[in-house]
Subunit: 343 residues, 2 copies
């Protein structure tokens, strides 16, 4: 179904997923292109970002940092959008902006959530390493993880949008970096392309032992985004005064019930004995104080080839649901973005 200049296609939440989302949890609807009011702009989506946090907003009860989506609502999402009509004094038609237009061809904004996309050769990077996920890596690693030269940093999802950046920044700061990823291809990429010192496949039956061997001096910083069995393998290796920035817990987003033995007391005992600092953070809180520094550093590192940014590009808005389902299962390789329009 190609895009059409007079029709707005949008993907709505059709049903609340039970566990991993199914294609029937989404529905593609069509309607007229909305008209901007005075003080608003009309946005044409060129790139749509698909990110793990969106899964949380599909629940009836939201995660606390953002409202849950009502049934029938357009799926939320960051976008790189072209302003096609402006009734706002600060924006002109033709400008490319980072927006939150969601999973649709067109969106409306009052301008308050728009940022210039800059003049990137690849504008979708403003949704990845140069945008929210890269910023998450920067704040989580540097402000909460605080790695020192020679320390061991473990990255929970080494080739993901956040993890790949966090690991490369940790290398720039002089840390030893051990990644965790799903499958030999991603692990090879983390070591050979991203420069990680090692990368372990969490599907390997010997994973926990191999991780211990790769972290012979223990773990000083663990950038947590996974949870589950990966967390269980990491936590006995944490050193005294280790730091655990938590930006996600994807292994549990799709759980219906928390079965099994209670892991909380064991984790608390470790937290206490090892004097661990564990801190959750939501990147929205940090834009006012840290985004400028991030953007400056990251543009420089990227331009100098010190940080590589890999994207997993899917063509067509109609393919967003399948791609998003794959993201929940770790099938993407690099930052997942959808090319909705543009060349």
């Amino acid at each position: 179904m190609p895009s059409n200049l007079s029709i707005n296609r949008r993907i709505v939440l059709a049903a609340r997923p039970r566990g991993v989302p199914a294609p029937t949890d989404f529905r593609l609807e069509q309607g007229p292109v909305p008209a901007p009011q005075e003080g608003q702009v009309l946005l044409r989506t060129e790139w749509l970002s698909l990110d793990p946090y969106m899964r949380n907003l599909m629940e009836e009860v939201g995660p606390g940092y953002a409202d849950p989506m009502p049934l029938g609502a357009t799926m939320v999402g960051g976008t790189v959008s072209r302003i096609v009509e402006s009734r706002h004094p600060r924006f002109k038609a033709g400008e490319l902006v980072v927006a939150n237009a969601g999973w649709q061809d067109y969106g409306i904004s009052d301008g308050s959530d728009l940022m210039p996309a800059g003049d990137l050769e690849q504008p979708s990077l403003a949704l990845g390493g140069l945008g929210m996920p890269g910023f998450t890596a920067y704040v989580g690693l540097l402000d909460i993880g605080e790695p020192k030269p020679g320390e061991t940093v473990v990255i929970g999802a080494a080739t993901g949008a956040v993890g790949a950046v966090a690991g490369q920044i940790a290398k720039l700061k002089g840390a030893r970096v051990v990644g965790i990823a799903g499958g030999p291809d991603k692990c090879r990429y983390a070591v050979e392309e991203l420069g990680f010192d090692a990368c372990l496949d969490h599907r390997d039956p010997q994973f926990a032992q191999r991780l211990a061997a790769a972290c012979a001096d223990g773990i000083d910083v663990y950038v947590e985004s996974i949870g589950g069995a990966v967390f269980d393998a990491v936590h006995p290796l944490l050193n005294l005064n280790a730091r655990v920035p938590v930006c996600g817990f994807i292994a549990h987003y799709n759980e219906k019930t928390a079965t099994g033995p209670d892991r909380l007391p064991g984790w608390m005992a470790t937290l206490l004995a090892k004097r661990i600092r564990m801190q959750g953070f939501i990147i929205l809180d940090h834009y006012a104080t840290r985004f400028d520094a991030f953007r400056r550093d990251m543009l420089a590192w990227h331009a100098a080839g010190k940080v590589k940014l890999r994207e997993d590009i899917v063509d067509g808005l109609e393919n967003a649901p399948a791609a998003f389902i794959g993201l929940q299962q770790g099938r993407n390789f690099g930052k997942l973005v959808v090319r909705v329009a543009g060349e």
Copy 2:
């Protein structure tokens, strides 16, 4: 069995407890009073401190911050001791010191772990509010909890050695303080004597609802030392950017197995959504940098009547095991100390 000037009574670890310790896990032994070598002092125990952490050292595998006790070893413990013989140039017979002589009448020290007891009217306070537990409260509350005026601070064991001090310091810093304790007498004491704004009985079937009602503005700092059902009632009430210093997890010290459901994923989701900082700490790490400030502040507050220190005094070394078992069950009311010798 009275103490005797030529015999050293000591209580040793007879068996490793399964769950709550039993009287048969301890054994009273007698032997000759040890003789100090050159560079050592002989210590007569006057006061013995009984503290929750000792339970952890009775396990075969230690908690990480201190070595486990071998079977047959004298139970470890902080003491206020009198130097009865000195072969050390820096100490004189007759001096009263804070020591680690353990559960026995006499101990030997090379001086490296001794501190002057000061000229306290009640020397046992050097084992409580003016010593390790009070210092734990000070560092946990001020350095990790960082309460701001008007914030709500919840104290997990409101009349315990740590909690009573933490709550009173929080009041001095302008916070609203809600305690949790076992039974109406302790709760009344926390409010009427210690000046807490409220105190809830965790044995009350309506505990969770009452805690929520008492914390209408949510919880900004939770001084964790309990775990279990108390933790479960606290965590839905934690505010954005709440701080959780963890100095213990007593509800779990005596658990044989961690039965389900798994509470870790739910806690992680809260930690993330609320941007919570949770930090374990072991007070031993902080003596070099913070003990002088603590001691100065605490002596002043205590002298001015701003911090009240209640002790639960047990007479006779032979009664230490029963008192310690009671401590695991929350039967003490105030800092638990054993009067071993002296008036």
